[in-house]
Symmetry: C2
Subunit: 326 residues, 2 copies
């Protein structure tokens, strides 16, 4: 079986894993560990726990348990001192406290959820994300970057982790043995790039013989990627890849419906455009239908997984796919 490594954090990673787990591949999810908002933020502050939120989402994505167990892990308490806490976060934190080892906690939670594949925290060092804006302002903490309290018109010029964090051995090993590395869609600076900031990750990707594919976001995000086109996403990722280039970019081939477009514009989100006719772009562009036809303009798990699986198996088939058609 082919080894696929998905790198990311939030909902985009959840969607990517949900599709891929249906295929007979060895699947590893490497997940960011710099979240600091909501239930996760409280567990970090009050209990000194490592951030469980993104790990929980990846575990649920890979779970083969009955729906009730997946619902349980995603359940949020509504009232009182527990209000806002996700049950799955409490599960991981309690296991971390018992075992004294976050990786062991993730492994045990994976057994309870009967996951397919493995979920790997990118680091076990407690660290926080910082962003430096183009005017030099430094913003501390993932949640303050994610829900922009800063002037949304200032671009992020750089992100970094404080203190520095070292990659887990499991993350390095998974990258080393990968046939395909998927940089998953999602928040660019707060979910995807935080993985590349962990010392050892970009070095391992650089050394890896795996194809490196980026499943490009469908929309921009206010305060993070306003006005970005596909090349802007790629350029920013490659800044943190230490010289390694992205081999493939998977992009959607159409706009959302007018109704959805209007809805997204209210949140200051725009569809991500792919610049036309760039003959000398370094990556191969795969432009096809990867969007959900439902109430959101986001990736469809199964459409995306199908393309990613083809990249592991049938590179040549890709030339038959519709490209550059928008």
């Amino acid at each position: 079986m082919k080894n696929i490594v998905v790198i990311g954090g939030g909902t985009g990673t959840y969607i990517t894993l949900t599709g891929l787990k249906e295929y007979p591949v060895n699947l590893s999810a490497i997940v960011a560990m710099s979240d600091s908002g909501g239930s996760t933020g409280i567990l970090r502050d009050e209990l000194g726990a490592l951030p469980p939120g993104d790990i929980r989402r990846a575990l649920v994505a890979l779970s083969q348990s009955p729906q009730i167990m997946r619902d349980l892990f995603n359940y949020r308490f509504q009232n009182g001192g527990l209000g806002g806490h996700s049950f799955g976060n409490l599960f991981l934190t309690a296991l971390e406290k018992i075992t004294g080892d976050f990786e062991k906690a993730v492994e045990e939670a994976g057994k309870v959820l009967s996951i397919r594949g493995q979920v790997i925290p990118v680091t076990k060092d407690s660290t926080h994300l910082h962003a430096i804006l183009e005017d030099g302002t430094e913003i501390s903490g993932e949640t303050n970057i994610d829900i922009p309290k800063h002037n949304g018109h200032l671009r992020i010029s750089k992100v970094k982790l404080k203190p520095k964090a070292r990659a887990t051995k499991a993350a390095i090993d998974a990258i080393k043995n990968a046939d395909l590395i998927v940089l998953s869609p999602g928040d660019l600076f707060t979910s995807l790039i935080p993985n590349l900031l962990v010392s050892g990750i970009s070095e391992a990707i650089k050394k890896s013989r795996a194809r490196l594919v980026y499943a490009c976001n469908l929309t921009t995000k206010h305060g993070e990627t306003d006005g970005f086109d596909a090349d802007d996403f790629v350029k920013n990722i490659e800044k943190y890849l230490g010289g390694r280039k992205i081999d493939y970019v998977v992009a959607h081939n159409d706009f959302p419906s007018k109704k959805l477009l209007a809805k997204y514009r209210k949140e200051k989100k725009e569809p991500v455009l792919v610049p036309k006719n760039k003959k000398n772009r370094a990556y191969k562009l795969i432009r096809t239908d990867i969007a959900s036809a439902k109430q959101y303009f986001r990736h469809d798990s199964y459409k995306l997984a199908r393309i990613l699986i083809m990249l592991t198996e049938f590179e040549n088939v890709l030339s038959f796919l519709e490209t550059e058609k928008r």
Copy 2:
């Protein structure tokens, strides 16, 4: 296989179940649902949950999972808004919220813990325990009776549930099919008798062809059973049995060490004595070594289970046991 039903609530029930689960019997634990203290009390008050604490303890007792899962269910968070909450309680409450059915929650938790046998809430009606003291004072709430805020020298003359509660069908069925019903050791008025107050339970016990055995407490409890001997325990239980008599009482045959005795006396606890030479007592007395030789003067799971199993299988063997030797 013989059907054994254990009725109770707290630590005494935990100990009883821990021993019995090693034997090839169909084991059912019927557990009190009127706890109102600690983590359980907060979940009742803030989230409108049914009380999970005693159910959790019984589930862990019957669990065949690796130690880590049992540790997880018993784990208590230390700090912040989660401080004092038992993880297992949160597990049951979250499942209750998702399924909308506490019995279903207990069943699912039982699967996660790979339990042997079944754990049955005595009722699914939300109810509280009230005690009336010999001077007529009424104390509301299990936790206020359990940790006596009342004058410890006034005896409890009666306990009742408010509002009234109906037994679950599963509890009635288990009693109906039982070969042996064990009234487990533990807090008399706050763990054991609250089960008998649930409407349908004493009626089912009365109708049952099962042998009814009481594993008598080793010590009295201040504020609840001060000065009680074995016959006082039996008399108080039988007040709530609607005419059915206890068939067997299993009592310990020795005193604790002087050191332990001194320790227990500091907590105003005394060994439970068995009145001598009562030729016309209605129950058969089985007096043998059932105490743990460790740091506490309490039942030993395996010694107690051995006697209970013999009661299901080899009634005649019992005459060979040491009796009335103290």
